[in-house]
Point group: C2
Chain length 126, copies 2
DNA sequence: AACTCCTGTAACGATATGGTTACGCATTAT
DNA sequence: ATAATGCGTAACCATATCGTTACAGGAGTT
């Protein structure tokens, strides 16, 4: 029988953002845009893939709201929008406490937790 | 002519980690393990997919070093290892300044940056 | 008006991803 | 010894992903 874990819903948040960050080229595009807004072609020239490939990455980043685009003459200037990264940041935040604790402490804590749960479970088995 | 952007190399770091986090089920598994170590079957029972599917997710998480596994009787207990998340955190860190600044300030900053670059570039065009 | 520049989209192909069922192998229970 | 439990892997399938080349269309240039 399945539980449909409660934790699932929290992980569903910011799906598009995590998805967008999965690709190294897209992360590099964001890194590039930190230095300032640029037109699409100039962005593409910084990478070893074709311009249409970058165009598709930009579309994905646009749909994840990680970049904003506006026309300027015949250029399309792309600008970083870091807002969605806040969600990623707050997800990570929940893990920060784990690496501030020493690994030894973590290990014993986790093992104790499991031992406790196992004991609570032991009634269901024989 | 291609530049092979310098920023690329920084984005290549922690490739496996970003990859692992791209899937909502895997993020939910990590969220679940924050509450304590658990055997594989118990993890699987929290999700609406088959046990082998979870087994494959766990393998990927193992290879990304986001979880550790050890045998305990006939169970295989999985334990969170948040260490690789530090790399993600420090990547995000570089963006934190952008959302602490007001969006208006950011906008003008970025636009000024682009204007400056465009001017520097204008000698190459006609 | 004709031409060039900049960029998005379409169509296609190779590979990756995420799911399923069937199976094998240890470990514990009977 | 035999059966049952727990879990990883293999084989397979559908769809997604990321790249390419060819093409189209709007904005400046001549």
């Amino acid at each position: 029988m399945r539980h449909r874990s409660v934790t699932y819903s929290t992980a569903r948040h910011s799906e598009a953002t995590f998805q967008a960050l999965a690709d190294p080229t897209r992360r590099a595009v964001l890194d590039l845009l930190r230095r300032g807004a640029q037109p699409a072609g100039q962005i593409a020239s910084a990478f070893p893939v074709s311009r249409p490939a970058i165009s598709k990455h930009l579309r994905l980043l646009r749909r994840a709201h990680l970049v904003r685009e506006h026309r300027e003459g015949r250029h399309r200037v792309y600008q970083l929008n870091p807002e969605p990264l806040r969600a990623v940041d707050s997800w990570i935040e929940q893990y920060r406490q784990f690496w501030t604790a020493s690994l030894n402490n973590l290990k014993s804590f986790v093992e104790a937790e499991y031992a406790r749960e196992q004991e609570a479970d032991s009634r269901k088995h024989k």
